[in-house]
């Protein structure tokens, strides 16, 4: 009896401790999402009743497909380029070359500094009067006209990689440093060349960590809002389009915005589930 009471008290206090977190989750996440879902099913304006019109309107436009494709193109190319940058970078940093602490700190800069500031700096740097263009037109004189990088698709992808590669790089670095050197030792003793060790031992072993990090990069890039808002120009991914619905139109089109937000959330969840499944299969 006493132990029963004790275990009940334990369960009760545990629940009490969890309650602030759960309350926060329901109040600040679950309820807002519910409100957004309900709003997306209501007709625009003050009218009541239920309708799928918002979804039909959005998905019926030919531009909807373009926007969704653009969002995926940006997020996926950013993720792939981040992996291609992070793996050689962290392989070098792992060797603890002189000054490696500075480069480690450098990896963290883009995620600590506000995205807006990074975007402003990138626009200045890659602009027609920025240093890369001055170098090409003045020093090398290979081109007459400055290259247009800002507000182009390539430019936006460069900016995305700058902002979001950190997640992949940090996770890859920590995976690499947790790697047992015995595996490489064994491969080397067995006569594998450095390249073979890298290709057949190190890369397969760190792949789960790299993919886990790249999920974070993908999510950040898919949901990116401030970067494309400022640097995107005519390339407006989903998050920006949603914001346009309530910032440009008066009265604000909350219904349309909510429907688009739900489509976006669903796409991200579906893609993440798929990604996780592929990851698990690789690990198995």
């Amino acid at each position: 009896m006493a132990s029963f009471l004790k275990s009940r008290r334990y369960a009760l206090t545990s629940l009490l401790m969890l309650s602030p977190g759960l309350a926060g989750f329901f109040g600040l996440f679950f309820y807002p999402v519910l409100v957004t879902i309900v709003r997306s099913l209501r007709p625009e304006g003050e009218a009541s009743g239920w309708t799928l019109q918002n979804y039909v309107d959005f998905l019926g436009q030919s531009s909807a497909r373009e926007v969704i494709v653009l969002t995926f193109v940006l997020a996926i190319s950013c993720t792939v380029l981040s992996i291609l940058l992070s793996v050689p970078l962290t392989l070098l940093l792992r060797r603890k070359l002189r000054g490696h602490r500075l480069f480690r700190l450098t990896i963290l800069i883009p995620i600590t500094v506000p995205g807006l500031v990074g975007a402003l700096g990138l626009l200045l740097f890659y602009g027609s009067r920025g240093w890369p263009n001055l170098f090409l037109t003045q020093t090398l004189k290979v081109i007459d006209q400055p290259l247009q990088i800002n507000y182009t698709l390539v430019g936006v992808i460069i900016f995305y990689v700058w902002h979001y590669f950190s997640y992949t790089a940090v996770t890859t670095l920590s995976t690499l440093e947790g790697l047992d050197p015995a595996y490489e030792e064994a491969a080397r003793v067995s006569g594998a060349s450095p390249w073979q060790v890298l290709r057949h031992v190190v890369i397969p072993l760190i792949m789960p960590g790299v993919l886990a990090g790249s999920v974070l990069t993908f999510m950040a890039a898919f949901g990116a809002f401030s970067i494309p808002l400022i640097t995107g120009g005519n390339y407006r991914p989903l998050a920006v389009q949603i914001y346009k619905q309530i910032s440009i139109f008066t009265p604000a089109r909350w219904g349309a915005a909510s429907a688009m937000a739900m489509v976006m959330a669903a796409l991200q969840l579906v893609f993440l589930t798929f990604y996780m499944r592929v990851m698990r299969r690789r690990e198995a």
């Binding site: 602030p20 807006l116 500031v117 740097f125 999920v215 909510s258």
Partner: protein, 278 residues
């Protein structure tokens, strides 16, 4: 034999040279935007094909202070961040303790639920938050914007704190009580010093997250609660890039300071990670 050795050493050096070139390019690629902002914020008459500004001036900072009303905006940012940190920490300490140290059925599921906000694009629930806040008249109040920030900050704080509490060694606590310390003494002299670094890193991290938060602020701010990121966004739209650069320097400095701090105190992978198991 000797020439072969020399040849090999040269090859090794070439490799090292290549490695350093790559690292240097990487460093420049990341840091150049900030150099440009810094130069833009102090440069005068910087037009055309000049590599560096010809004249220096502090005018843009004066402009930034007068035109964009920096003292007020900075005060708003700090008040909102302080409120958000307080609320997020008050939520995260008990929840983190329960998740980190107690036997709870379905712990994995609860952790997944608390991390769910990170799997959905922020704009999706920012819309809902804005609509709820309009109804509750929380738009354009400091506490309202701060509560909106908690939605982003709290999951991070819970994550960091639960892993801190989990790492607390039972044997150390037992040793303290065996040595005759009562609960109070154990708490203040053993538990608290052990978890302090974790709490500190959670505080620092929630603070910068709130100070830099843009999406949720944009959906809930008003003229009375203008924060630095929103002001910077509006200034970029207004097109005075010199003034905007001066404003941006104010956002960079604390961030770089924090970066320096967290590099010393906590492993960075803790801050971005927590997703490996999901």
């Amino acid at each position: 034999m000797k020439t072969l050795k020399q040849y090999l050493r040269a090859l090794l050096d070439a490799k090292k040279l290549l490695a350093y070139t790559f690292l240097l390019c990487f460093f420049l690629w990341v840091s150049m935007p900030f150099v440009m902002i810094a130069l833009k914020s102090i440069g005068k008459n910087w037009f055309g094909k000049l590599w560096l500004p010809p004249d220096l001036t502090a005018d843009w900072y004066k402009w930034a202070i007068v035109v964009t009303n920096i003292p007020e905006v900075l005060k708003n940012s700090l008040v909102i961040a302080a409120l958000a940190v307080t609320i997020a920490t008050l939520i995260a300490i008990p929840t983190g303790w329960a998740l980190g140290r107690r036997k709870i059925p379905g712990k994995e599921a609860i952790t997944a639920i608390i991390l769910l906000p990170r799997m959905i694009p922020p704009i999706a629930y920012a819309l809902g938050v804005a609509q709820i806040f309009y109804r509750l008249h929380l738009i354009d109040t400091h506490i309202g914007v701060a509560i909106a920030h908690v939605a982003i900050c709290a999951p991070y704080a819970i994550l960091v704190l639960s892993s801190t509490f989990e790492a607390l060694d039972d044997r150390v606590l037992e040793a303290a009580s065996v040595c005759g310390a009562n609960n109070m003494r154990t708490f203040f002299h053993v538990t608290l010093p052990l978890v302090m670094p974790g709490i500190l890193s959670s505080l620092i991290f929630t603070f910068t997250t709130s100070y830099n938060e843009f999406t949720l602020t944009l959906m809930t701010y008003g003229p009375k609660t203008m924060t630095l990121p929103v002001r910077t966004y509006l200034a970029i739209g207004e097109g005075y890039w010199e003034v905007t650069s001066a404003l941006s320097m104010l956002l960079i400095v604390p961030s770089l300071f924090v970066l320096f701090m967290i590099q010393r105190q906590v492993q960075p992978e803790k801050l971005v990670g927590g997703f490996k198991g999901v």
